[in-house]
């Protein structure tokens, strides 16, 4: 048996690494490229009902510990995305469709279309930290989250994952709401609201001023969030935030994550990061004499 095989809800993954939403997921061909680079599953860029340009540049600032970005959810709209999904299905790993909207009905419609296009699961972006009226503004309210997840669950058969924001003190409540509404898994965390100011230009660098911080700088926050969620919910948790090595992946899994998503590391380490982490996990299991990577999930808890 493959020691890295991982089950997330009903998804069968050859290894516990996944491409995080927002990275490279704009086109079907790049999702295939990431799958070929070794990811166990890939998540699309977040797609909405209508085409959306996103923000003007600068949309990214490189920092020592990661990236600050405010892309502004650029996407071609769900109807145009059909074509990308057709190409993406050429990948030999599950494709998870990420969607964003403002109402439960729109979330459900988008999820239904993703299912129709062949997505193996849908990830609800309830957590974009810099889009007005979208994402995080909904994702900090357990009642709103419950309504959205319930509506989507009533509409699609594929597993429904909810991606949550760490920009709240009510994370556990929101996680509980996902579970109570029938959600099949939680993805934590999205980026943290942050800002960088150019001292010389005397203004924030991002055109949107505020963006989301990702990369190693947020890893310990992600690990804490996964740890807290693991104590609150029974459904699988997917850890994301600053995973760059097999150790980081193991850390998230010990906190309670069944799988991990990788985003910023693609820029910082290159596409080979998936293969390097998978190899590292394999060697780790051999050293520890473990049969399956699932054996370490949650072991950091008393």
């Amino acid at each position: 048996m493959n020691p890295l095989s991982t089950r997330v809800a009903s998804l069968e993954l050859a290894n516990p690494t996944m491409l995080a939403s927002g990275m490279m997921g704009e086109t079907g061909a790049s999702l295939v490229a990431i799958a070929e680079a070794g990811a166990g599953a890939v998540v699309t860029k977040s797609v909405g009902l209508e085409p959306r340009k996103g923000y003007e540049n600068p949309t990214l600032v490189e920092l020592e510990g990661g990236y600050l970005n405010a892309m502004g959810l650029p996407n071609p709209g769900i109807d145009a995305y059909r074509e990308e999904m057709l190409v993406a299905r050429g990948a030999k790993v599950p494709i998870i469709g990420s969607v964003f909207a403002t109402t439960p009905e729109d979330y459900a419609l988008l999820a239904w279309k993703m299912q129709d296009y062949g997505a193996a699961a849908v990830e609800l972006n309830l957590s974009c930290p810099h889009a007005k009226g979208l994402g995080m503004e909904i994702g900090v309210d357990p009642t709103a989250v419950r309504r959205i997840v319930r509506e989507v669950k009533q509409t699609v058969k594929i597993p429904v994952l909810a991606k949550l924001t760490p920009n709240t003190h009510r994370l556990a409540e929101v996680g509980k709401a996902v579970e109570e509404a029938g959600g099949d898994g939680i993805v934590a965390i999205n980026t943290l609201r942050a800002m960088v100011i150019s001292v010389e230009a005397k203004r924030p660098i991002l055109s949107n001023k505020v963006g989301g911080l990702s990369g190693p700088a947020v890893r310990s926050i992600g690990v804490r969030c996964v740890y807290e969620l693991y104590e609150t919910v029974e459904i699988p948790i997917i850890g994301v935030g600053g995973v760059e090595s097999w150790r980081d992946a193991v850390e998230y899994m010990m906190a309670g994550a069944t799988a991990v998503q990788i985003g910023s590391a693609i820029g910082r380490k290159g596409l080979s990061v998936f293969q390097v982490i998978v190899q590292g996990l394999q060697e780790y299991l051999e050293r520890e004499g473990l049969e399956n990577i699932g054996d370490i999930v949650g072991v950091a808890h008393d």
């Binding site: 085409p51 996103g54 003007e56 540049n57 990236y67 892309m71 071609p76 709209g77 660098i205 820029g267």
Partner: protein, 258 residues
């Protein structure tokens, strides 16, 4: 990681109609064909090929939209944000090279001739739509024994496209590598020519870009990221792409005709 640095423009040189070069101090090593993300504070940030990589770095801008308008309006002392360099750059091969530049595509190519540093080992073909848009002619002549010019309207040099001129030129002379940059339709024609003549080529592409760090996927052509896997591609890499010369992505990520 590459910091966002603010630089001060030290000189502005008029190169051609609506085209100028901005020079600035940037203490980073830049290879021929690499690009910088240049931020005009409060306006926009765009990818710009480095047109000067030795001494003071430089970019060469043609006014086409809001961002380039702001850059062209810069004066000595203007502040710009710079991050990078990004991208792979040209792989300069041993032997004789031919440079084929269309319009401001010349900007990314002259550093190749700088790098080769031997007037006998590199020839340069400079093309543009019309004479006032021909740039870097004197600089090319300083770097190469053999420089030829073409304009679409015949107002200077050979009348016709730079690729037509290249086709004639390749009847007479053999090269070990061709380096080209310009509009994608032109590059498509260069690739076809190189395949016919059995000469390897490296072509520098342009796409709408956001992160420039290989993350966001805005600039992909098929599955390749122009910012990280490019902007320079080997001819044989491009031959199999379904989008080369036909499709690009708009700001929403939707496919649009080139």
């Amino acid at each position: 990681m590459t910091r966002q640095d603010m630089v001060t423009v030290t000189s502005v040189t008029h190169e051609g109609q609506g085209i100028c070069t901005l020079r600035f101090e940037l203490d980073r090593s830049v290879m021929p064909g690499q690009f910088l993300m240049v931020w005009a504070p409060g306006v926009d940030e765009i990818p710009m090929s480095a047109s000067f990589i030795y001494g003071e770095k430089g970019i060469t801008v043609r006014e086409v939209g809001t961002a380039t308008k702001a850059l062209v309006a810069c004066q000595k002392g203007s502040l710009l944000g710079v991050r990078g360099p990004y991208g792979n750059g040209y792989q300069i091969e041993q032997g004789r090279g031919l440079i084929i530049g269309g319009g401001t595509g010349m900007a990314s190519l002259l550093p190749v001739a700088d790098f080769i540093g031997d007037r006998e080992q590199v020839d340069i073909l400079v093309g543009a739509r019309t004479a006032p848009e021909l740039i870097f002619v004197e600089r090319a002549r300083a770097l190469s024994e053999e420089v030829h010019l073409s304009t679409d309207d015949g107002s200077m040099g050979m009348r016709g496209t730079v690729v037509e001129m290249a086709a004639k030129h390749l009847e007479k002379k053999r090269y070990d590598m061709i380096y080209a940059c310009g509009p994608e339709r032109m590059l498509q024609a260069v690739l076809a020519l190189c395949e016919k003549k059995n000469v390897p080529c490296q072509l520098s592409l342009e796409r709408f870009m956001k992160c420039a760090s290989g993350l966001c996927g805005s600039c992909v052509i098929d599955g390749l990221r122009v910012c990280a896997d490019g902007p320079v591609f080997q001819g044989q890499q491009l031959r199999h792409l379904s989008e080369f010369g036909i499709w690009k992505r708009d700001e929403c990520g939707g496919r649009v005709k080139l």
